[in-house]
Amino acid sequence: MQTISILSLHNSLQTYLVLAALLFGMGIYGLVTRRTLIGMLIAAELLLAAASLNFMAFNRFTAPDPTVGQIFTLFIMAIAAAEAAIGLSIVIAVYRNYKSIDTEDLVELKG
């Protein structure tokens, strides 16, 4: 087993996968613990970023056609932008009606 120096970590696929896993964990933590809609949206952006990083890492190290992962990441960015636009306009509409975006105040449908 050959040891890889800490300075050549950028040439190993596992570095990027571990980093993406950490970002994914941060996203899930934010999604679970945040109490405002915008905070949850920020956490969701972290999740999407982790997925993009995985795609790019596999694209660089294992995929035969290195354009596919880049194109997929570009599409993820477009979808994330659409998601942010829709989500934030919903947040603004909710704020206008409830004067709050705290998830605990949006309980009108609660049985």
Partner: protein, 185 residues
């Protein structure tokens, strides 16, 4: 770590002051930037700071994309995520002025630890899976340059390209419609 995946299969560790060593140092700094930004984004109490953390995280990720041989995607990351998405979120925060309510305290005392446990389990599972799996490497059929991305986008993926354009258009129109509804003037 699986040494067969090291692209430049260096047997000796690069020195700190060689070009390879400095590249490694820059990479470590960018990894630290990404992780720090992510932690700020998910843990900061005030949402404005969370957005600032998200910006830092995305800048670090753009640098990582550069390390992954994709300067075009790195540039798009800066333009779309840092320049558009984060700014939009910042606008929404200023419009909605969501002060996190401190008077109620946390919704449940268990929410923090439970979230930490959930995130930890998921991240740990993914790390173990990434480190234990042996990924086979396929030979490259092209270089993945910007020119080849353009050719692929306009030939093989032209349908997806058009669909994403329509999705974005509908998202813009939908955002306008939802945002305008209920306005008094």
């Amino acid at each position: 770590m699986n040494p067969s995946l090291a692209v430049t299969a260096t047997t000796a560790a690069p020195g700190l002051l060689t070009a390879d060593g400095l590249t490694g140092v820059v990479f470590l700094i960018m990894v630290a930037t990404t992780i720090t930004g992510g932690i700020i984004a998910c843990c900061a109490r005030r949402l404005v700071r969370a957005v600032a953390g998200l910006v830092v995280c995305f800048i670090g990720m753009a640098a990582l994309y550069y390390f992954l041989n994709s300067p075009f995607v790195a540039m798009m990351q800066m333009l779309i995520y840092v320049g558009a998405v984060c700014i939009t979120i910042a606008f929404a925060i200023m419009l909605a002025a969501p002060e996190e309510k401190v008077k109620h305290g946390p919704s449940s005392p268990l929410s923090g630890p439970l979230g930490l446990i959930t995130a930890g389990i998921v991240a740990f599972g993914m790390v173990v899976m990434a480190l234990r799996t042996t990924f086979t490497k396929a030979p490259k059929v092209n270089g993945g340059s910007v020119k080849e991305i353009g050719i692929q986008l306009l030939t093989q993926y032209s349908m997806v390209f058009e669909l994403v354009s329509i999705v974005l258009l509908i998202a813009i129109i939908g955002a306008l419609v939802i945002g305008r509804a209920g306005r008094s003037k």
